[in-house]
């Protein structure tokens, strides 16, 4: 097998066109990324001129929303707060069907409840028990984490013990159930404890002109009435966190106390930030789709050129065990493409990120492991796609037909689904069942169930989890390769 591998590697590197093709794939991937990044400008008109304010970054390194109404008191050390949410009402601006009125209503993820938060600094650690507009009681912490409680609860309690926070709920104020216990690592001794209200924008999705969908999010406000608040006697500090003067009146929160009853209104959200809020790291690799086409052509030619010239017989004479020939070819083209993809990604990601930032774009931060997954995953995606293309070439044996077939099954579904020309359901279905599902491995910002979002492929959200999508491509590659081996064994050469 080592001889066979060495032979196939020599075969690959001694055809200048193939080597140049792979170099071209790197060049295209990087250059297209640079063009895209250079064309993306972003500016804001705000108090700091046309520089956009930095997005808050949560304790886990992700960009977060930290915009809500917060009435709080200092909490020194351990302690507990209890409150009842007597009512949760709200206002939704210009909802469907006509988008012409401001109506009363509460969006499903409007939140009202109690919170322990490290400080009023945007992005600081927190844990909260809340009632929501449509998803019952929840315990959430540090923006990303969400645990469901019951739908009947009205009473909420948070207890701090060191850096452990326990959230509990009750329907009647006497029988309590723990929803979750979470840890806020490194939570300082002097934290804030209080009441909060948030109301994320109202997402409406409409049909686009070309078949895709357009999502629009309109301002909402929620108003909660709290009573039976355990900290009632102490002085309160009110903050409209993340708000700024000059914003629409409805987006600005209010806080009123009257005889142990607190009425608070607020807008915004406290939770993870979605793709729509900034530039994502995978956008620096948008050239990889075109690079992939070049890789497919080279991978297909690596086998069909042998059929065209009758060289396949020489190959089979040198290595009569036919299955191994295809396996060796796959390994060579796979490893070569992986290295090529890795070089392209390692250049494109930092380079294009710099250009994006220089153009005033907010690049959504991701964890190192996510960035590694995007970079290595892109290389792996190209590699496995090359193996699939090679297997298709071995099955079809004719260069042009095989190249077209490979592009049609790998690249075309991705273009169609992300270009906003297909209905969202069809796009999602295609990205589950075609090899293009593998592009999910590039998705750096996940879909959050606790955030209403326009989670469609055109926005950069894939229906399958990153590795699951990649596994779909791997399955196709294995299947095609298995079939090709079977046929090569059976047919006369």
């Amino acid at each position: 097998m080592t001889g066979l591998l060495r032979g196939e590697w020599t075969k690959f590197r001694t055809v200048r066109g193939w080597v140049l093709g792979m170099a071209l794939a790197v060049l295209i991937t990087v250059l297209l990324g640079v063009f895209t990044a250079s064309g993306s400008h972003s500016s804001c008109s705000g108090p700091e001129g046309d520089v956009c304010p930095a997005l808050p970054v949560g304790p886990e390194g992700l960009a977060v929303n930290d915009r809500f109404s917060f009435a709080h008191q200092p909490l020194a050390g351990d302690g507990s707060v209890t409150a009842r949410v007597a009512s949760l009402t709200g206002i939704i601006t210009y909802p469907p069907p006509d988008h012409d009125k401001i109506v009363p209503g509460v969006v499903p993820w409007a939140k009202a409840g109690i919170m322990i938060k490290e400080s009023v600094r945007p992005g600081s650690a927190y844990a909260a028990m809340m009632l929501t507009g449509g998803h019952g009681a929840r315990m959430q912490h540090n923006y990303e984490h969400d645990v469901a409680g019951s739908r009947e609860a009205r009473w909420l309690r948070l207890t701090r013990s060191g850096d452990t926070i326990t959230g509990a709920e009750s329907a009647d104020g006497t029988h309590w159930t723990t929803v979750s216990t979470v840890r806020l690592t490194g939570l300082q001794k002097n934290a804030l404890m209080g009441l909060f209200v948030a109301s994320p924008c109202d997402l409406t999705v409409t049909q686009g002109d070309l078949g895709g969908t357009i999502g629009k999010c309109r301002l909402t406000q929620a108003t909660a009435v709290f009573d039976h608040v355990s900290l009632a006697g102490n002085p309160w500090t009110y903050d409209d966190l993340g708000g700024h003067t000059g914003a629409p009146a409805l987006s600005q929160g209010t806080f009123r106390e009257s005889g142990g009853t607190f009425t608070m209104s607020g807008s915004g959200d406290v939770g993870p930030y979605g793709i729509e809020g900034g530039q994502i790291v995978e956008r620096t690799l948008s050239g990889a789709y075109t690079g992939l086409i070049v890789v497919i052509v080279v991978a297909v030619m690596f086998i069909t050129a042998e059929y065209r010239r009758g060289l396949i017989r020489t190959t089979l004479l040198a290595s009569p065990r036919r299955g191994r020939v295809l396996v060796a070819k796959s390994l060579v083209i796979g490893v070569v493409t992986f290295v090529v993809g890795l070089i392209a990604a390692v250049i494109a990601v930092p380079l294009c990120s710099r250009i994006l930032r220089a153009n005033g774009n907010q690049l959504l931060p991701v964890s190192t492991s996510t960035e590694l997954r995007v970079v290595a995953g892109t290389a792996a995606l190209l590699a496995v796609a090359a193996v699939l293309a090679l297997a298709i070439g071995a099955l079809i044996r004719r260069s042009a037909v095989a190249v077209i077939t490979a592009i049609a099954v790998i690249v075309v579904p991705h273009v169609l689904t992300t270009a906003s020309v297909l209905p969202a359901e069809l796009s999602q279905w295609l990205l589950r069942v075609t090899p293009a599902a593998a592009f999910a491995i590039q998705q750096s910002i996940p879909e959050y169930s606790q955030v209403e979002g326009h989670y469609v492929p055109q926005m950069g959200y894939y229906p399958l989890a990153p590795w699951a999508g990649f596994a779909v491509l791997c399955a196709y590659a294995l299947l095609a390769l298995g079939l090709a081996v079977l046929l090569l064994r059976r047919r006369d050469a």
Binding site: G7, K11, T14, R309, G310, L311, A318, S319, D492
Partner: protein, 306 residues
Amino acid sequence: MEANIEVSGLRKRFGPVLALDGMTFTVTPGHVTGFVGPNGAGKSTTMRVILGLDAADEGRALIGGQPYRTLRRPLSQVGTLLDAAALQPSRTGRNHLLWLAHSQGLTAGRVDAVVELVGLGSAARRKAGGYSLGMRQRLGVAAALLGDPPVLMLDEPFNGLDPEGIVWMRGFLRSLAAEGRAVLVSSHLMSELQDTAGHVVVVGRGRVVADASVAELIAAASGDRVRLRTTARPEAMTVLADAGATVAVTDRDTLTVAGLAAERVVALLTTHGVPFSEVAGHRATLEEAYMELTRDAVEFRADGAR
């Protein structure tokens, strides 16, 4: 490994065409074995079955007692030239040999040695797409010799060679056989093998028509015929035909006489006063022997074509 090729009872059908119909022969070391037959007689198919490229419906083909597909590092056991045009045009001749060498665990040194051996010289570093047919044949022979194998199989190696190349190829094949290798060379032209092959396997319609040494074949084809040179052709034909001989006109002043011994011919002509300048026992060429043997096969094909 024993240097021989054994083919027994090969049958293969391509749709309605029976390409191989009980093909059986053995190739032994030490001399060049010609594998001859008209186009379509099954030579290439037989070679491809021996090499494991095509599967036979029946029968078996062994090289040194083993099926080709089970050979480890097969190029060190069997050297093959099937289709000299089977090259990636953008790869140099040397690199073509290099990947073959690497696939067998051989080194670049061996590549340079065979390039030298076949006289490819500096052309080896040029792209194979620009090679003449003769250069491709030389490259193909170099590839066959890469693993220094005891068995060689060459399909139509004379195709496209210029006269100088043909002379070179003949000498080269003879010397390879003289080193103790089993060398099987196919051709559709017996004349190409005239001074090369020591043994000939003649095939037609997918089976062996004759399997003999060259000397035996020529003797059989020569028969008891007499070649007669005379200026009085009509008279000579009358006299000899009356005596019971079969007379054929070979050219303007020669006749081929069958059925009478040379002494009888001389006596008859002298008696009847027919002048002649030469009477000789006829010795057939390998080509004539071959034509005789394959006539049936060719005729059958012509019938079939109608």
